[in-house]
Every structure is written in structure tokens, then in C-alpha cells.
Symmetry: C2
Subunit: 207 residues, 2 copies
């Protein structure tokens, strides 16, 4: 059981370790890994010690073993079922993306409220009417919902998702949504990413 | 001049204050604002004091004034020119999104390397060939580049962007890219967002 604060770093290690593995690298030292991902080697050693990986001095850590340990501790050794609510520009791009399946996330349904979108194909299925959402969640296990509806619809959509028993939400709408206890929500706010870049540029005198 | 660590919070305040302003709210207390965005009122008061806003006890802060102060301190009182490199699924969704323009980010060009995509319309313009990138950056001021090319192309694309004089990059490809000194890069990693949600579900025993 790793502390929650290490989870974002573990996802970075996992991505880089998978890349190394794909290139046939069998071992890696904390020093080399730290240089590849701009982190501190001592922090890496501490994170790895949580799941009993101590590496061998001078030889480093076994890459396949680290991958297996991190995958297990992040709960990625099983498949998570995801749905997308809002099949507009962003929702469709996410629905067609094959990168999530490689990480163990299976898209099981895409929902929308607009007649012009319902029934459209997104590659591996057709967009369903949001009215079917509750019945769908009663039949299929749904672990995670990605919310790509307009900002004004976000809170009611998240309420509906939580009421249907889905416990995790990734919200792309640029408004803060509130969720009942027991439901986890993370927000992706692309505008705020751009604002942070603008601030750094203005700070450097580029403004 | 605000410390960089406050910037992500300032973008949250700005979004909520703009919402309040749109609903005709003239004043807000740090306590009420804190409740709306799940932050600590003392932290809010501290952040606002950096640009001389102390509010009036019992009455709170003037919403329009706060908006103006935060906008200025984030460097959003001017327009930033952005380009998108990679006009595939995600690049096209971002190119058609009208939400960035409202925040002062103007899309001035979209580039791609594939003949089948070059020339396609994305709403307010046509996709240009990546070969024109350097000439374009020599004529137009480009502040920020959004990178939505496949992972294998990400590093060479970012190298090209930095060499053309663009100082800020928002990278959507799921690989870490390195940039020369003087160039700022932020990464949006949607897979890692999903992994963090999966971890929280597994941690709650949903796994
Ligand atoms: N497009 C982008 O690149 C981008 C970038 C950043 C943030 N966002 C945010 O992501 C969200 C989606 O943006 P978009 O550009 O895809 O918008 P869009 O208008 O293209 O798509 C929204 C979709 O949601 C559907 N919808 C509306 N109400 C619904 C409801 N109650 N239930 C189910 N479906 C519903 C609409 O029919 C539409 O198909 C917005 O909140 C936007 O601010 C988008
Ligand atoms: N689609 C999504 O929802 C999503 C989600 C998470 C991450 N991503 C990441 O975003 C990136 C884009 O994903 P996508 O789904 O849009 O892929 P895509 O294949 O649909 O689009 C990629 C585009 O980049 C262009 N391209 C390739 N090499 C180029 C180069 N050297 N210069 C300019 N253009 C070039 C291609 O012609 C293509 O149009 C990928 O790195 C992907 O991993 C996408």
C-alpha cells in the first residue's frame, strides 16, 4: 500500500520503465532514471522501497520487476471500465484514442443528449442516449466516467453519474463540481494550463 | 509579482470570480470563496494580499477589482498567440474549441505533416504544412505551442518549436520531452489522470 502522494510519480516511473523495457533495457539505476525524468534519485529510491524494491548497488533495479510492482500497486493489473458522457469534439477525440486501452482502461460506453449525435459511430461502438445511462450502469460495471459536456451541464451530469453508482469522475468541463462522499473527482483544466504558461512567459518579460 | 506556487490557485479563483461576476455578485468573502472551491480561507487571504487586496472585514472583497488584479498579475490582460502542431483527433478538438479565446489565447495557426490533413479547415482557418512552421514563426509572434503529435514524434517536434523561437509548450504526448534553457514546457498526461483515479478506487477496495 503506497501513500497517495507517490502515485503521480509512480505513473511517471511506469511510463518511462515501460519505454526502457520496450527498448530491451533490463536494469536501471535510480541515478539514471532520475536524470531521464527530472526527479531526484533519493526520492526514487524512497518510493521504490515502499514496495520492497531495494535494487542492487552498482547494478540498479530490474526493469520488468519494477514494472510489475508498480502496476500492481497502482491497481493496473486489472481492467477498469470507463464511459464518456458528452460525445462532442473532445469526447469523440477521447473515445477514438487507443492509448487508454494499452494502460488497462476499457471504454464500455459513450453517451450524449443530442439527437444529432446519438447513434453516431466512434470506432468501437455507437453513441447511446443519456436516458439509457442508469439502465446501462445497472447492467455493466462502470468504474470511471469522463465528463465532456458543456460547463453549464457539468454539475447535473456528475450528479447523475454518482447517483448511478459510478465512483470516479474525470471532469474536463472548466467548472468545479461537487460530489457526494465516496466519489472521487479529478479535474483536467486545460485553460488553467495555458494560464500558467502565460504567467511564466509574462514573468520572463515576454509580455 | 506573485510567487509561482500561487499561480494554479489564482487560475481557480479567477474562474470562480468570473462566474460570480456573470451572475451579478459584487462582493465575496474569503470564507464564502473558500467554500465554493474547497480551499482554505486563510490561504485565499494570503494569496490576495500579494497584490494589495485586503478586503473589508464583514463585507469581503470587490469581485470586479479582484478579477482585474488577478488578470493583470497572471499576464492575461494581453492576448497570447498560440499554435497547434498535430491536427489529428485531439489537435482538431482543441483547434475548434472556443473556450481558449475567452481567456485571451488566440489560435494563429495549426500545422501537420500528413498530406491528407494539410489544407483541411478547422473552423477559423486551414491546416498548414509543418514545413512552413519556421517561416510562419519568423513572420508572426508565436507565444505558445500545443503539441498533439504521436509520442514518437514529440521530441523532434518540440526541438523544432524551440528552434523557431517559441518559448512555451503544452505537451499532450505521453512522453517526457526535454527543452533548452529559456523554454517552458508543461505536460498534460491524461493516462496518468486515469491511473490516479484507478489507484484511488483500488485503494477503496473497489478493485
Ligand atoms: N474541445 C476542447 O478542446 C476542450 C478543451 C478544454 C476544455 N473543454 C471542455 O470540455 C467540454 C466539452 O467540450 P467540447 O468542445 O467537446 O464541446 P461540444 O459542444 O463539442 O460537446 C459537448 C457535447 O455534450 C453533449 N451534451 C450536452 N449536455 C449533455 C448532457 N446533459 N448529457 C449528455 N451529453 C450532453 C452535447 O450534445 C455535445 O455533443 C466543455 O466543458 C469544454 O469547456 C474542451
Ligand atoms: N486523442 C486523445 O484523446 C488523446 C488523449 C491523450 C493523449 N493523446 C496524445 O495526444 C497526441 C495526439 O493524439 P491523437 O489521438 O490526436 O493522434 P492522431 O494520430 O489522431 O493525430 C496525430 C497527428 O499528428 C500528425 N503528425 C505526425 N507527425 C507529425 C509531425 N512531425 N509534425 C506535425 N504533425 C505530425 C499526424 O499527421 C496526425 O494528424 C498523441 O501523442 C496521443 O498519445 C491523445
Amino acid at each position: 500500500h503506497v501513500p497517495a502522494a507517490t502515485v503521480p510519480r509512480l505513473t511517471l516511473y511506469l511510463r518511462k520503465l515501460r519505454e526502457l523495457h520496450a527498448h530491451g533495457v533490463a536494469r536501471v539505476s535510480s541515478k539514471d532514471l532520475a536524470a531521464m525524468i527530472d526527479l531526484n534519485p533519493a526520492q526514487i529510491r524512497k518510493d521504490f522501497s515502499y514496495f520492497g524494491e531495494f535494487g542492487t548497488r552498482g547494478v540498479g533495479y530490474e526493469v520488468p520487476r519494477l514494472i510489475a510492482e508498480i502496476t500492481r500497486s497502482l491497481g493496473l493489473d486489472r481492467t477498469w471500465n470507463a464511459v464518456i458522457v458528452g460525445a462532442g469534439l473532445l469526447g469523440t477525440a477521447l473515445a477514438r484514442y487507443r492509448g487508454f486501452a494499452d494502460q488497462g482502461f476499457r471504454l464500455v460506453g459513450v453517451f450524449d443528449s443530442s439527437p444529432g449525435v446519438i447513434g453516431a459511430s466512434y470506432g468501437s461502438g455507437r453513441v447511446r442516449a443519456i436516458d439509457e445511462f442508469e439502465a446501462f450502469c445497472a447492467q455493466e460495471r462502470v468504474d470511471i466516467a469522463l465528463v465532456t459536456v458543456p460547463a453549464a451541464e457539468a454539475q447535473t451530469t456528475v450528479d447523475r453519474i454518482a447517483a448511478a453508482g459510478v465512483r470516479a469522475v474525470l471532469d474536463f468541463a472548466p467548472v468545479r463540481v461537487s460530489v457526494p462522499a465516496g466519489v472521487i473527482v479529478r479535474q483536467v483544466d486545460l485553460s488553467s494550463e495555458l494560464m500558467i504558461l502565460a504567467y511564466s512567459l509574462a514573468d520572463d518579460g515576454a509580455g
